[in-house]
Every structure is written in C-alpha cells, then in structure tokens.
Symmetry: C2
Subunit: 406 residues, 2 copies
Amino acid sequence: MRRVAERALASAREGNQVVVVVSAMSGETNRLLALAHEMAAMPDARELDVIASTGEQVSSALVAIAIQQLGGAAESLLGHQVRIQTDGAYTKARIKAIDASRIEQAFAAGKIAVLAGFQGVDEHGNITTLGRGGSDTTAVAVAAAIGADVCEIYTDVDGVYTTDPNMCPSARKIGKISYDEMLELASLGAKVLQLRSVEIAKKYGVRVHVRTSFPKQIGNVDVYEEGTWVVGESSELEEIVVSGVAYDRGDARVLVVGATDAATTLPLLFQRIAEKNVSVDIIVKSPSVQDARSDITFTLPKTDLARIRGDIEAWAKELGASDVRYDADIAKISVVGLGMRSHAGVAARMFGILAKEGIAIDAVSTSEIKVSCIVAAKYTELAVRALHDGFGLHVRGSVAPPAPTA
Amino acid sequence: MRRVAERALASAREGNQVVVVVSAMSGETNRLLALAHEMAAMPDARELDVIASTGEQVSSALVAIAIQQLGGAAESLLGHQVRIQTDGAYTKARIKAIDASRIEQAFAAGKIAVLAGFQGVDEHGNITTLGRGGSDTTAVAVAAAIGADVCEIYTDVDGVYTTDPNMCPSARKIGKISYDEMLELASLGAKVLQLRSVEIAKKYGVRVHVRTSFPKQIGNVDVYEEGTWVVGESSELEEIVVSGVAYDRGDARVLVVGATDAATTLPLLFQRIAEKNVSVDIIVKSPSVQDARSDITFTLPKTDLARIRGDIEAWAKELGASDVRYDADIAKISVVGLGMRSHAGVAARMFGILAKEGIAIDAVSTSEIKVSCIVAAKYTELAVRALHDGFGLHVRGSVAPPAPTA
C-alpha cells in the first residue's frame, strides 16, 4: 500500500490528476466470504456483496492515509459516494454509469481520489460487487468517465504473455495487443484483467497498461518496467498472425442425446440456461437424420453445471432427449490473433499441430480472430506448448511459421 | 450472532416488527483501527471512519444471513442506505435525523431490518461514526424514529448496578432507573450505554431495556432474564434517595495558576477548549483577591489532555498565568439519585462518609441529582464501597439510611 501511495503521489507531483482504484488486501475477500459461508452454506447474494465490499472500503481509506502520511492530499471514495451505478445482479453486477463529478471535486481540491474498486450501487442504493477482478473494471470505467490519458493496471505479473509461462517456458511478454485479441485471450486475460474491463476499454477507447506492481531497484530508485499495452487496432501493433495461445480448464461439456429436432429446441434450451445466468460457450448441434432427433453438445463453467444440473436434466426430458452425459475432464485450447482475418488456414494448421501430437479434438468453435478446440484435459500442457511454438510465438515478431507436416 | 438471529426471529414471529441494530464483532473495531495506525501515527479522522464502519457493515450482513438461515426474512441496512444523518464530526458524530422510510419498506416486505450501528453519513455523504458504544445510540435513535414500543440493549452485563460489582460486592442490579439518573451515572452507564443514547431516549421518551445477551438454559428453552429498564420519571420508580455510586478514572485535573482575573478569562479559555472538541467536566475558579489573579481548576479526559496540553500552556500564558500544573492520578466519585431533590443533606452525608475513611476531597461539583467529588485515584475502591453501603444501596429499596457519624 505504501508503494501504491508513493507511485500515485509521484504521478500527482508530475502534474497529473490521479485516481487510484484499489482492491482488497491479499486474502481479505476470501476471509470475508468465509465468514458468510460459516453462517450459511448458500448465503444471500445481496448480503455477500455487503460483506465483500468492505475489503475495498478498508483498502481505499488505508491508501488515502498512506498518501497523506507521505505529505500528499487524498481522500477515499466509495461506490455509493462516487455513484458507481450498476445493475442489480449481486456478486456479478455490471457498471451502467459513473458520475465523474465527485472525482472532479477531489481534483479541484487538489486531492488524489482513492476509489474503492469492485463495488457499486444499484438504482435503489443496494451495494453490489462486480465479480472477481472487478477492480480492473472499476478502473477502466472510471478512466473512461473522466477521459483519462491512461489506465495503468498494477498486478502481480509483468504483462500479458503469448501463453502461460508456467506451462510453456518459451512464452514471451506481448508489448502491445488489441482489445479484440485481449478479449479472445480470455483464459490468459482472466488472470490479468477482468474480461468486462477489456470490453469497456474497447468501447470507450481507454488505453490500458498492464504492468507489474513490483519495481526493480536500480541504485536507490524504484523503476517500474513497461508491461503490455492494450490498445485499439492501429499501426502500433505488430503484424503477426497469431498473438497468443490460451487455455481454460474451467468448463464442462454436456451432451444431450436424441432431443426432438424441432426449430424450437435450441432456443428453448438455451433461453432457459440464460435465464439461470449461465454463459454457454461452445454449442454443437448434430442432427440425427433418420428419426428427426439430434444430439446437442455445449460447454459451460463447471461451477454453473453443479448448480443447474438438475434443471438441465428436466429440460432435456421435456425436449424428448433419451439421455444426458457430462464430461468435466476437458480443456479448451485457443489460438488468437488479428492476423487470422487475412491469413487463411489457421484452423487447419491448428488441427494439424494437435494431430501430430496425437491429441483428439472433441469440438471446435471459431470467431473472426480465434479458433478454439475442446480436448481431453490431460493434453492441456502438451497442446499449449505445441501450438505456441508451432505458430512461432517463441520467436519475437514471427509472422508466418512454416506449416507443420501433419 | 446466531443467538441474535434467533432472538429477533422469535420476536418477529410473535407479531412484532423488528429492527436489529448490530455492532462489530468482538475485537474487530480495534483490529481495524490498528490497521490505520500501522499506516500513520495520526491517521485522518475521515478515513478512520471509513475503515471502522466496515465492522458493523459485515455484522449486519452476517446477522441478516443468520436470520435467513433460520427461515426468516431479513435484509441488512447501512448508515447511508437508511440515511442516518449526522453532523460532520468524524469519530464522534451526532445523529441529526433518521429517515424511517427505508426501514418501513423492509417491514412492508415482511422483513427484519438488520441495521449497521455506529455509522452514519454527513450532509455530503461522507461516512461518519458515533464513537465507542455508538450502536446503542443508533438503536435508541431508530427506536425513536419508528416509534418502537421498546429498545432492548443486549450487552455482556445483565443490567445497571448500584455501583461497579467488581469493586463493591454488595452492588445490586437496579430494576428501573430514570433517564436523568442514568445520565448522571455516567461512568457506570458508559460501560453499559453510550451517554448520547440516554439523552436521545430521554428526549423522545424511548423505553430502554438493558439486558444480558446470554440466556439461561431452563430445560431446552433459552430464557433471557429481565435487566434494567431506563424510563421516564413516574410512579414506576422506587422512591429512593440515592440510586447509584459511580466512579471515573478517565479524567485528569489541570490547575492554571495566577491567571488574570478578568470577566473574559473563563469564556476565553473554555471557548478555546471547546473549539478543540474537548468536554471539560468540573470547573473551579478560586479568585486570589490580593492581585486580581485567580487559579482555575478543571478536569478533562486524559486522552484529550495529551492532545491539547501544548495549547493549554499557550492559552494560560496569554491569560497571564504563572504556571500550569497537572494531576492525572485522580478519580471522580459520584452519588446519583432523583431523591436528592427532596432529601437535603446528601452532599454533607457524602463528605462525612469520605472523611470517616480519611479520604481528602480535592474538588466538588453538584447537579440537581448528583454530587461528585474529586479524590486521589488510589482511594477509588474504598470511596465507592464506603458510599455504596453508607447510602444503604446494599439493601433493596432502602430509603433513608442513618446518617454516618463523621
């Protein structure tokens, strides 16, 4: 916290108007949620947010005190004071509006505003929180609201990597990346930036700089190295086909066997899942032509599956399905890059690299700048390393590595 | 907390509309303040309140969850949600107004309102706290705002005693006591009820029931014994002369020697002390007739003395004083009772009892229903015991004990 205070004050003394957005102290959110879970196995979401938001509240006041202690002027601001207006979805609320006037008041008084991240209020003044990593989203949203020059995200890693360095030793730090690529690098990004924060950054063109909160000591001076800039598409970006390889072992796969193959089947099923506030990722529908029945495969977060498994089975029965099968032992491996738009054959090359390693592909999903494959979870590390080096990410600025021989 | 939840729910199921006002978990406020003091020796008062108020915030949500867990309906409410409006005196704010409508909304929805005590907001929405014991004040003020039948204060003692039972084994629990007596029994009351809460109770005629939060198990049933009722003056009250003996070792005495004896001297000195937000208790001015100089004695909380000692010396110099002396080793012993109004000689009897024990009296202050003496701190226990039994408080309902022989 003292380091945050020093850093904010140094920036203010360079003539900048500074908002610091703080998250809770390490372990604090978990400690608070554990208190609630001691009281009830399924504590009320509204009350969970009341409890969890205190972590950031304490941090904001402590950082304000730390800045004052260094001779600076600062004041803490909470979600209900700045009026971080959200919807009413407790524990995963979305910011709808921010009133910048309270922050501008602090600026006018020559103060650094130290804003409690992660929290907001709904239209009735109930406290809401934005989900894990929500302080990133607060920071980017505030940066947008006040038209900040830059939103610096200080974190425990030094930037965004071409893939997880713990899994692939040849992973490299990316200097600049586009909003869209960052969005697609979800499973890498989730460790560094909350997805929603990237969406807001893209929407409002906020320049985000993800960097380490641990400075290097050079002589007596703390030096903060550059991390990764997340920016709009422009000539700033290196012209590379694939910029990263991501993986996600948080999903499970559901197979609904032999559902009635009617036009209403898919809308009905996925409307109901959406009503349970569950995000489905990959959806594959395979018609079984002979008897107007089809199999439906989809993936969803394991935690959500536990919650709505009973519902899924009831809905499947309604749809005339003969069986529902589950597989939680899967991984989603994705390659991401703006260059895919202009370079054909990325999917084919990906399948080839995986095939060469003997990795079977269960399901595929593609977007304009991403190809994802579902594979057995045990192949995660092998698939990530093979794709990372197979697409030449271990070499700085490599554009088009030779296609592997399948 | 589960016991609080059970108790509230039992009352709601009897058909009552219930507001629970919670304080922080044991030790939590100290833990939070320690965090702030780690950051700075004299942390900013505004930020202290932001930090300290989280203790009650967490408690309110946990108790709401506990009630829900027992099958009841409940929701937490915070100072800024109910709009507990206070002045801007951080760490010791005073409640100015309460908007009962948010609580009535909870009632209308069939819910128990679980209100975070101790906290409020000033007119700008800054978070304030009401000082130690402030949750009592929140409770009484809310009871007044909603016109509650009773305000039950559950605490770790089972009522208000004729004096401190730890100091005087013959101390008895008082069944009913008037607001005024309770106010004068400050040092006893402070352990049970925040003074300000009694002032508000008196002003709005709130019936306060101070009782233990630890029930007796009778068979399988939790039985909460009656404690002490703090009520308006009426025939309900026993007709006794003295209802309690109080002591306070929290003050220090200041002697300003040889100040100019002008009409402006006292107003000037005590106006300045008041501006520092310090409550002075006993004031004695002894004119030294020969040279138009006077000595001024007053008492104030030790903690405040440490803070404004330098100021006092500067002011004393301005007033022409030759010296300032301090004594922190003092105690204020008080006897309190409505009966004093009609029974003459209570002060004289008090002096006699103390004289008989060889205890010198340094200074005296009286009100309509109280006599206080300043004595050396080492005599505290002896003075309390002698006065307690000397005024017959060890005997239930005693009216006029025989006057002691001096």
